[in-house]
Symmetry: C3
Subunit: 155 residues, 3 copies
């Protein structure tokens, strides 16, 4: 019988679970950051969102875009575009029986790179800070994909 | 030997599979909604999409944006931003051996909140309907992340 | 004891892992394509990205949008919107004990359709090439969702 708690006794899988939960929670923080800037700067995308700030034409002036809000949204979308492949490839990689220390190195680099990417995007830090953070995360995911396909290709 | 069908005999995992499939199918419906509004309102993003509605300059007038289409697209992106963390954290949470009734409560609340979010976004209902739906889904995912990290943290 | 390497000896799961890794790697390629067009066409979204091309007002002229870049970004977002449901539903479907040849047919059709979708979007090919590719991928995911819910519904 499969005892699921034993799947969670696998160290690589537990490490994947921990790092994934952290990086996904960080991504969820971007929603809060967007909401924070929308409310403090009164910048909204939907008429019903600014109904509390005035009636009719007076409210419509808050339907606009703002550099700061757009920046957070771009950072959020970039997170989605990079964390989704990590989620899928990382899960399958974790199940493919990799070496524990190699796997943890991959996970740590990825999570560190994505946190640094967010800091570099939101501060903003001069390039190539953000580009570097992006490429480290990208490279980690490709490295896991390569190891997975090399050992387990089945088409 | 791992008999995979036994993984699917785990009740928490089966419940996660069912609710996830429902919420992902709901998200896929947003693509259909976007296509529906694009075709009925003749609002396109690509020149090749409106070639059937006229030639040359006549077709270019359909390359525009429309409030209704943009609203569906924002709802779709919000789904992506929230369902991706649910997918990752929920899967790992389901494997971490949670209490069945607690787990099902989490899944039901999340799926209900996301369906209500879509209704509130597309109708549109006045705020705070949509904000409330958003925060319930957000809170459920954070609650699963907290329980997962509390019981299985491995860094 | 669960021996994880045995999960990877399940042929359906190995096939899912291989096709998923390929389609996610393809999706990651879209980031590179965006970066390529941004750099060769000097079209940027952030002031810090074009600092290397000039100072002050001279750099600001590169903060613009470009048809080609926007096209790649739309293709990338469409990938996200379709590959995320495939990832979640496909994983659960793979674990639900489907027939091997049926499962592989689903995976091959999906991956082929998404690769063709990208080619049709970036070339661009006249419609209905892209629409057809979209609907094949969409139909494959719905078919897996249907089979999963039919055999394993637990609410």
């Amino acid at each position: 019988m499969v005892n699921l708690s034993q799947l969670m006794e696998n160290e690589v899988f537990m490490a994947f679970a921990s790092y994934t939960t952290i990086v996904l929670s960080k991504m969820m923080f971007m929603s809060t950051a967007t909401a924070f800037y929308r409310l403090t700067r009164k910048v909204f995308a939907n008429p019903e969102d600014c109904a509390g700030f005035g009636k009719g034409e007076n409210a419509k002036k808050y339907l606009r875009t703002d550099d700061r809000v757009e920046r957070v949204r771009r950072a959020h979308l970039n997170d989605l575009e990079n964390i989704v492949p990590f989620l899928g490839i990382g899960l399958l990689y974790s199940l493919s029986g990799p070496d524990l220390s190699t796997a943890i190195l991959h996970f740590r680099l990825f999570v560190g790179a994505r946190i640094y990417h967010t800091i570099a995007y939101l501060t903003p830090l001069p390039q190539p800070n953000r580009a570097l953070a992006f490429f480290i995360g990208y490279g980690v995911t490709l490295s896991m994909a390569y190891r997975l396909l090399k050992s387990k290709l089945y088409l």
